[in-house]
Symmetry: C2
Subunit: 376 residues, 2 copies
């Protein structure tokens, strides 16, 4: 895992990994189809109210495209491991996986409103789309308020439909597994929102607190992106306690690595890879562990630079380069890279102890690396 | 039903109705308890993330209080009518009724963000509470943005918990009735959001369109507040098609009357009764059927007044009084009152044809009047 380009303070074009075995095309296609079918089917109820609702559906449809479906893949692999079979998942499993992706879409749409982000997966965010629509049609009132309001509604619709999708799926599941699956599904949704609140709070505060940022990483990323999708699969497949605990420990490590990699990509990432402008996190002044570590290790000159430039929306390439340099020179980048390496190494060791069929182990091994590199 | 005070352009203190038999204290107490228990129980997952989440729970708890629980009552009466029994509802029925109230809470919290409302049920709205918290704690960034973001999250949590509550309830229901109940629950949530979008759109437009405002009334109020709660009860009780159709026709009439009364109260209502400042709708410039009718019937002088003063947030009592006078003198108030009378009369006739036990008929009769007067 070479990271020399990041260390030089330039953009990371690619991580040197083969495309993972984590996300298989057949499952992704089924999940994508189910997500879009749900939007179409539930959308008929919406357009029956008025055909003026068509733009709302279009926004949901467009926002639904382009996801990597990592969470869905982890649900399916988690189920395969529990079911001790490396086979095509049945409709209940794919339904829950697709419901999770639809929920994730809703969470992203709402997060983008909260963070006032303009781009997501390389396209304008939902609130930005309706802000423009407001201007284009010469509406009264504030365009930004209209955009936020409509995006809130689009998110609410997707939350509702995700729930409907999961409930439909659970009706096809053997009854003894429904309660356990629902418990994970309910906890997952509650905990990611709690993590988002903590993140919001931290972004408003003067000074960063490492313990809070670590907790945000645990709940918004490690649990939500990796551990809980695996546990959903485990519950769907009726996994014994030992496997659930194994999934948990593995998932928390990989998920934390995933988020730390994301923090690095938010600063050093190639826009073609991340779908966001280069250095976006620095321009937005996002409080990440990476930046908090740099603040803690910076000398007086570096601190002044961090204080002045992090959060400056108009940062040019030159000043962005100098900021990146500070992150490297303080050792913050190295510390984060080392932590990622440790987490990924430990995740691989944990994986060796899991009682799952070999193809499941191979896929999760690839997840450990691929998630950490965010290339899957 | 005397409305002479409104016709004189003054505030309506009370509608001359006895407290309805619609909302019975025992059911309301069970619903309230279940809503609060859900917030407490799910809240433990939230505070396990960090005790800094406590204010989020407090906000949810406080926002949950003070509702009239009309929708829950209609679920229970709808079920009693279908079950042909005038008995205490079982836990599945109360669970769905409480889930609907928790969903309603979420919808109100999000609506208040969209409408930028400062008061709800006589207390500061959730986004306003966190806006103040932001200022009090000297946070960075815009206080209003923080307030909106947290309120979005509080609403999202309540949406999730409403869903969890309904799902738990449905597991106690005989399986043959689950699918029908879920269909109403999913449609209800989707349609009210579609209605809210249409309302938002209409509020941004120059000029009002009566047909769109009528459709907003149908979906945001008539179906959501009366028809669909009755249909939820019907599905829970396994009602035959004839009763479902009867509930529908009755519910749409009563629900429209409810909204029209609400439009009148938004202009002429006593703050003690509505929990909102007097004349709030006029100061906010809310596009209601009442105002749209007045615009249509106004002469040149009246039109100038409407154009100038509707939507002026700083309207004093004097100018508010003159605006009210215009609504009366154009005949808009009379037209709305007449429509309410017709709807309520027709609802009573429809009720006479419903095959339900006498206590159910009496309660729904009281709903027809009480909802129209919004006193229950």
């Amino acid at each position: 895992m070479t990271t020399h380009r990041a260390v030089e303070g330039r953009e990371v074009a690619h991580a040197p990994l083969q495309e993972g075995r984590l996300v298989d095309a057949a499952t992704t296609a089924r999940v994508d189809r189910l997500v879009l079918e749900t939007i179409e089917r539930r959308g008929r109820t919406v357009t029956a109210v008025s055909d003026e609702l068509e733009p709302v559906l279009r926004a949901a449809r467009e926002a639904a495209g382009g996801g990597k479906r990592i969470r869905a893949a982890l649900v399916v692999w988690g189920w395969r491991g529990a079911a001790s079979r490396s086979v095509e998942p049945d409709d209940a499993v794919v339904g829950v996986a697709a419901g999770l992706e639809l929920f994730h879409l809703a969470a992203l749409v709402h997060d983008d409103v909260m963070d006032r982000s303009g781009l997501r997966r390389g396209r304008p965010t939902v609130h930005r789309v309706f802000e423009r629509e407001h201007r284009r049609r010469g509406f009264e009132g504030r365009a930004a308020d209209f955009g936020s309001a409509v995006a809130t509604l689009v998110g609410d619709l997707c939350l509702t439909w995700a729930d409907a999708l999961v409930s439909d799926a659970l009706r096809q599941l053997e009854p003894s597994r429904v309660e356990a699956t629902r418990r994970v599904w309910d906890d997952l949704r509650t905990e990611v929102m709690a993590g988002q609140y903590l993140d919001l709070l931290e972004q408003q505060r003067r000074g960063s607190r490492l313990d809070v940022l670590r907790r945000v990483t645990t709940y918004k990323s490690a649990k939500y992106t990796v551990e809980q999708p695996l546990l959903l699969g485990a519950a769907l497949g009726g996994a014994p306690a030992a496997l659930r605990e194994g999934y948990s420990a593995f998932g928390l490590d990989v998920g934390e690595a995933f988020q730390l990699r994301d923090d690095l990509l938010g600063v050093f990432g190639d826009p073609d890879l991340t779908g966001k402008p280069s250095g976006e996190d620095l321009r937005e002044g996002k409080r990440t562990l990476l930046v908090a570590l740099a603040e803690r290790r910076a000398d007086a000159v570096q601190q002044r630079l961090l204080h002045r430039d992090v959060g400056d929306a108009h940062l040019d390439a030159d000043r962005l380069g100098r900021l990146r340099q500070v992150l490297v020179e303080t050792g913050a980048v190295r510390e984060v890279e080392q932590r990622i390496d440790e987490l990924v190494a430990r995740a691989h060791r944990r994986l060796a102890g899991l009682d799952v069929p070999q193809p499941v182990r191979a896929a999760l091994a690839s997840a450990a690396s691929a998630c950490a590199w965010r290339l899957a």
